[in-house]
């Protein structure tokens, strides 16, 4: 095997020591923390009498359980309030930068990190959140960890990690108009299955990936975990550097030119070895929707729910159970199926590009009667930009109210819950049973499919919506 992969180059530059027969001690450049998965880690260190080793490498935000209305008021739920206050106090005591609710830099950790310039190519990045893979869009090794590992990084800025296997997903060709990066990643997951990339780190490459904007690349990398991958990454290029150049704290750095020069070397060498390579054709991807309770259960929005082809295996029972939960049957078409809720937001699709796509599709139309829409920007910065660009006003005229930023209905830790039995077309990342509220039925999709559902009140192919104008 000759040459190194992009992943190898970043990993090797961060190995403090290799343990023979065991994991590597891997140095972590950036540690993001939030209110839900950090309190037990801070407690653990207090019990041991250990200080935070490198507070300057940590960025904290509150996002998971905060409300998306009336953020100027104290959080009503006392347990959630305590959790947010605990994070604030832990950060104050340790000298960690904390961007709490209402701060102009607040938002979902995977939206704010990149937009504030804290995520840079070549870094190792962790967070107690599985969607940390989002940051891989910048050519980083970024992955989610548990709370015990959060504690390890707080204590030593290092983790014990076994080098994962590597997979390259090549996407050739070009996405058609009306097909988004969310459709692409749902297409890939439907093909590889929800556990298909377990044990792997994925590099996304190929013509179609190069053509994606940074926001779209983040959407793709974000959902790597939904096929089991530890993370996903994309080699940085001019698209990356131009995006970063817009961030004053990054481009004002006197070293910026030198950094870009170095970042150009962050790509897989010709002949670098991957344990697995898969190729997809972007031109074959159509608007997607999920019909079950696993992100791998996705199909073309105008398709038919497949019949299980693994009769007799344990997966068969799980599949039918999943359809029963959704109120669907094999062979059903979903086009025209009525829906109750639409959620636009989350670390998957809560960025400015997503708001632009959704707004353009609903502009001049009206939200369907009977549909409750939750439009939740991923960050305060996204909200301000939407306001500046007139998106907020266009949405208002179409009957949509913009909320305040947070994770919201993606995991429904706050009040933004979908009621039992109701159908929600959601731009988030997981359609698990009860994910958006006990008994809620989630249909994952991209912002255009969500927009089409919001104005028609039923599952609609967004390309038809445009043709029928």
């Amino acid at each position: 095997m000759s040459g190194k992969t992009l992943f190898d180059k970043i990993w090797d530059a961060h190995v403090v020591r290799s343990i023979s027969g065991g994991p590597d001690v891997l140095y972590i450049d950036r540690h993001y923390i939030h209110e839900v998965t950090s309190p037990q880690a801070f407690n653990g260190l207090r019990q041991r009498g250990i200080n935070i080793f490198r507070p300057e490498r940590i960025i904290a935000t509150s996002d998971h359980n905060i409300p998306t209305v009336n953020q100027h008021l104290p959080i009503a739920d006392p347990v959630s309030r305590l959790q947010v206050e605990t994070l604030e106090e832990n950060c104050r005591a340790a000298g960690i930068r904390y961007y709490g609710m209402g701060d102009p830099r607040n938002g979902i950790v995977h939206v704010t990190g990149p937009e504030q310039g804290f995520t840079l190519p070549g870094m190792t990045i962790v967070c107690g959140d599985s969607h940390t893979s989002t940051h891989g869009a910048f050519g980083t090794i970024a992955f989610g960890i548990g709370t015990s590992e959060v504690e390890m990084v707080l204590a030593t800025q290092c983790l014990l990690q076994t080098r994962p296997k590597q997979m390259r997903i090549n996407v050739k060709g070009e996405l058609h108009e009306g097909v988004t990066s969310k459709d692409l990643i749902l297409h890939i997951i439907a093909s590889l299955t929800a556990g298909g990339a377990t044990g792997y780190f994925v590099e996304y490459a190929g013509e179609a990936v190069r053509k994606l904007s940074m926001e779209s690349r983040m959407t793709v990398c974000n959902m790597s975990i939904e096929m089991g991958a530890r993370g996903g990454l994309i080699a940085p290029d001019e698209v990356t550097f131009n995006w970063l150049a817009q961030i004053p704290s990054v481009s004002d750095n006197r070293e910026f030119a030198r950094l870009i020069h170095h970042w150009h070397s962050l790509r897989s060498d010709r002949g670098a070895g991957f344990e697995r390579e898969v190729t997809f054709d972007a031109s074959k991807v159509t608007p997607m929707i999920t019909y079950g309770t696993s992100p791998g259960m996705g199909m073309a929005v105008n398709g038919v729910i497949p019949s299980p082809d693994y009769a007799g295996s344990s997966a068969n029972g799980s599949y039918l159970r999943s359809l029963e939960y959704m109120g669907f049957k094999p062979g059903m078409k979903l086009l025209g199926h009525p829906i109750d809720y639409v959620f636009l937001g989350s670390c998957t699709n809560g960025r400015i590009e997503d708001l632009r796509l959704f707004t353009a599709a609903v502009a001049g139309k009206k939200k369907a009667a009977g549909v409750t829409a939750l439009i939740v920007p991923g960050s305060q910065q996204v909200a301000r930009q939407a306001e500046r660009e007139g998106l907020t006003e266009t949405l208002r005229l179409a009957g949509f109210e913009m909320r305040q930023p947070g994770c919201s209905s993606c995991l429904a830790m706050n009040e933004d819950k979908i009621p039992s039995g109701k159908y929600a077309v959601s731009t988030s990342n997981r359609n698990f049973e009860g994910r958006q509220g006990t008994g809620a039925r989630t249909l994952l999709a991209g912002p255009l499919v969500a927009a089409a559902a919001a104005v028609t009140g039923k599952i609609t192919d967004p390309r038809e919506l445009v043709w029928n104008q």
Partner: protein
């Protein structure tokens, strides 16, 4: 800090043969607002185990008196989804000490091993046989031998080896904690930082 040592576990087992059991099923997000590690066991598999009024769902395996034990036997891709370690705390809080499946999600497996919960990965064929046996004879004893890396059902002839990373295995057997190990390497870590700046 020392944690419980894991060597050999002999127990009856609880079968839950569903694929893709995600961490939202293991512990729903609405229970994640706590700031401690205790008490999650009461809400393990909450929405499968209890109805909307909080009454036990009779058919669910944890509510069936014939199924008891410290070993959980699950379907493929167990623990997929969220990185929440609360899922492991819920499983150990219900006094399970090992989970058997033919595949585990990566983050879940790390979280489990960091809490002394052993993940036993077997072949799909062995898993199907084991699940079938436990389902038909709930009183069956399963033996998980970590030093020997073998899972057996004594008297049945059912036996399989399972993989464990040697470093992880030693930590589990001795009850060692990764943080103590990393802290012992502080000088190396600081030397690495200095080298990088140069």
């Amino acid at each position: 800090m020392k944690r419980a040592e894991f060597t050999i576990l002999e127990s009856t087992a609880v079968p839950l043969p569903l694929a893709n059991i995600d961490t939202d099923q293991i512990i729903p997000a609405r229970f994640l607002s706590a700031t401690g590690r205790e008490g999650f066991g009461n809400n393990l598999f909450r929405d499968w185990r209890y109805d909307a009024d909080g009454n036990p769902v009779p058919g669910f395996v944890l509510n069936r008196p014939e199924f008891r034990g410290e070993i959980l036997i699950a379907g493929s891709n167990f623990g997929c989804g969220s990185s929440r370690e609360h899922a492991v705390w819920a499983i150990t809080g219900h006094d399970f000490r090992a989970v058997v499946s033919d595949s585990f999600a990566d983050i879940f497996m790390n979280n489990a091993l960091n809490n002394g919960l052993l993940t036993v990965t077997v072949t799909p064929e062995f898993l199907a046989q084991l699940t079938g046996l436990i389902t038909s004879k709930p009183e069956t004893i399963v033996r998980v031998d970590l030093p020997g890396q073998v899972i057996t059902v004594p008297g049945s002839g059912l036996q399989a080896g399972f993989p464990v990373n040697p470093f992880r295995k030693e930590c589990l057997i001795k009850g060692l904690d990764n943080i103590d190990y990393l802290l012992s390497m502080k000088e190396d870590i600081m030397a690495f930082e200095k080298n990088r700046q140069a």
